[in-house]
């Protein structure tokens, strides 16, 4: 909204020409991050009070490794704060006529609604059992189908239809294949996998939020490069007109993430809940698809991939078929707790590894 206003003022009033500053993506991305951060700080305490008043609290779940009772009663659904900050900051600073932004707001509403329903059911039933797993998968796949149609249909896609179905890998200049309509399968997998992986990692204070906003930062840089005709040419990326606006949206995620960490840092005053983890995962997955950097997530989101892989291997392969454990506990962070590391040590080490992964993924800009 402010983008439209400033753009109008800059175009029509000569004395306000300095307002062209607000048309620059980098400047707006920074403003979006600061706005989201300040909104989180401002609205965090009232939202925490509201959640406590409504008794939307975390249910202690004994993993056999930690004293979970100590955290029993901490309010959950802190994702509301994240979504509120991202939503307002993006509405203020994004170009609301941009197709990429429309799709991202679609993901925002879809996954936010799904996570809210999941958390509401858990809180309502006073148990860990929220939305049934198959409904959750159906909703994730449902969004994947909609995104596939929006991204691959020649008359709806915001990118060149031929380019839309090309398969790009990090560190490679050229696409390795053109998947045609099979690309929709990759979209379905990306959305479901990323959304669930963030959800699985959300188990310790601050564990999911830091890698999430680091990935948002990485994708902001990629979106800016890919959406800039000069930079995309310099770094040998295919230019995607309009995709730079995704960087502003990523800026909101980055700022909202830091703002949420303010309250979620150990010992957490609030947990993000499924509304936060599912929506962050859903939005990051959508961003990955829109800028065609799905496989970059394997590097940038290495922590999430490792967490999800540990659960898949242990829960769905090792225990039912081999009849024993491969890891001490899953998701992976519980293995480290089992080995006798305090929660804060595990979380900070995961942050360090996430930062390293983010740096490696940024190297994929140049090493191609």
């Amino acid at each position: 909204m402010l983008y439209t206003l400033f753009d109008y003022l800059y175009s029509h009033i000569h004395s306000l020409s300095f307002m062209r500053l607000f048309t620059y993506i980098t400047f707006r991305a920074i403003l979006a991050a600061i706005t989201a951060f300040l909104l989180s700080l401002l609205f965090g305490p009232p939202i925490i009070r509201m959640l406590k008043k409504r008794r939307i609290k975390d249910i202690a779940w004994n993993y056999g490794v930690v004293d979970v009772q100590a955290k029993d009663g901490t309010p959950t659904m802190g994702g509301l704060l994240i979504l509120f900050s991202i939503g307002v900051a993006s509405l203020l600073w994004c170009d609301l006529s941009n197709r990429f932004v429309h799709i991202l707001f679609g993901a925002f509403v879809w996954f936010g609604g799904m996570g809210a329903l999941d958390d509401y059911l858990k809180s309502h039933r006073n148990s860990k059992e929220g939305l049934k797993e198959h409904y959750k998968y159906a909703l994730q796949l449902g969004f994947g189908v909609i995104l596939s149609i929006l991204y691959l249909h020649p008359s709806l896609t915001p990118v060149d239809p031929n380019f839309a179905t090309e398969l790009h890998l990090p560190f490679l200049k050229t696409p390795i294949a053109n998947l045609g309509m099979y690309y929709s399968l990759l979209i379905l997998f990306t959305i479901t996998a990323i959304s669930n992986s963030v959800n699985l990692a959300d188990g310790l204070d601050g564990l999911a939020i830091v890698p999430s906003f680091l990935i948002a930062g990485v994708y902001a840089i990629f979106a800016y490069v890919i959406g800039n005709i000069l930079l995309s040419s310099h770094f040998l990326f295919r230019y995607l007109p309009g995709s730079g606006e995704i960087a502003v949206f990523c800026g909101s995620i980055f700022g909202a993430g830091i703002g949420f960490l303010w309250f979620n840092a150990y010992p957490a005053l609030i947990f993000m809940g499924d509304i936060g983890s599912l929506s962050l995962g859903g939005m990051l997955g959508t961003i990955a698809v829109l800028i065609k950097q799905e496989f970059l997530f394997i590097i940038a989101g290495g922590i999430f991939v490792a967490e999800a892989a540990s659960v898949l291997i242990q829960k769905y392969i090792y225990i039912p078929f081999v009849g024993r454990r491969l890891f001490y506990r899953t998701p992976l962070h519980h293995t480290f707790q089992h080995r006798g590391y305090a929660e804060t040590k595990v979380v900070i080490r995961f942050w360090i590894v996430s930062a390293i992964f983010a740096l490696i993924s940024l190297a994929a800009l140049k090493i191609r």
């Binding site: 004293d67 100590a70 009663g73 998968y137 009849g323």
Partner: protein, 268 residues
Amino acid sequence: MNALLRRILSRNAAHNRDLYDIEKLHRDLKKGLSIHDLESTIRRYFDHPRWEVRNTAVKVAGDSGSAAFAPALCRFMTDRKQKGFVRRNAATALRSFRGSRAEILPELMNALGDSYWEVRAQAALTIAEIAEPDAALEGELIRRLFRTSPSIIHHLPYFFPLRVYRERDFEVRAALTRALGAVATSSATLHVLELLTGDSYWQVREAAIESLFRSAPVLGVSTMDLLQILQDLDLTCPDFRPKFPIRETWNRLKGTSAITTDADNRTH
């Protein structure tokens, strides 16, 4: 895809009522139902083709406390064809049969050579719980812990940084350390436990301290001597438990009052 896989597995489980039956039996047992008269029923599940059913049957047998199950559980624990969970739970279940110590201990020592760490750890913990001071067991446990023989144990400090452990898994090492505390008869154990107070894993160090205090009366070591031995003990570790002052106060006050408050109802 996960949901599909899970559905296939749960559909198989639903078709097989036996798993449901044995789990119901287990729940009933925990409610206080005596199953001494149901031994033949449990034995029927021991030979079930599905490992999940056998696994639950093993747990039920342990919880029953009936010593008649001890030989069968020993067989489960040492049969490498059984799944890891079944072997592990058999090792845990044997803790209930302290009276059959003489028959169980050799099998538990055998299980310490299992390829699955959870079986080794549980077998060692069972030894720690049911064993009494025994020189033969002591020597064997030391051999399980270290590559070196007890006769050259006094040279260990010099080789210690070279990782002389035979047992590389910290969880098993901690369990073996506890077992060693239970069977200690000689000063060799004292020296080994002292060495283990320098282990890189705090769980092993903690187990070593506990074992030292447990075995001290048997070894004729006074508390003062023990404190002298442990004067350079590293008491830091990468773990700690959160303590919320307001919760501590609440629990303290609640402890002095038998009244169940509304806040309790809300929390749980």
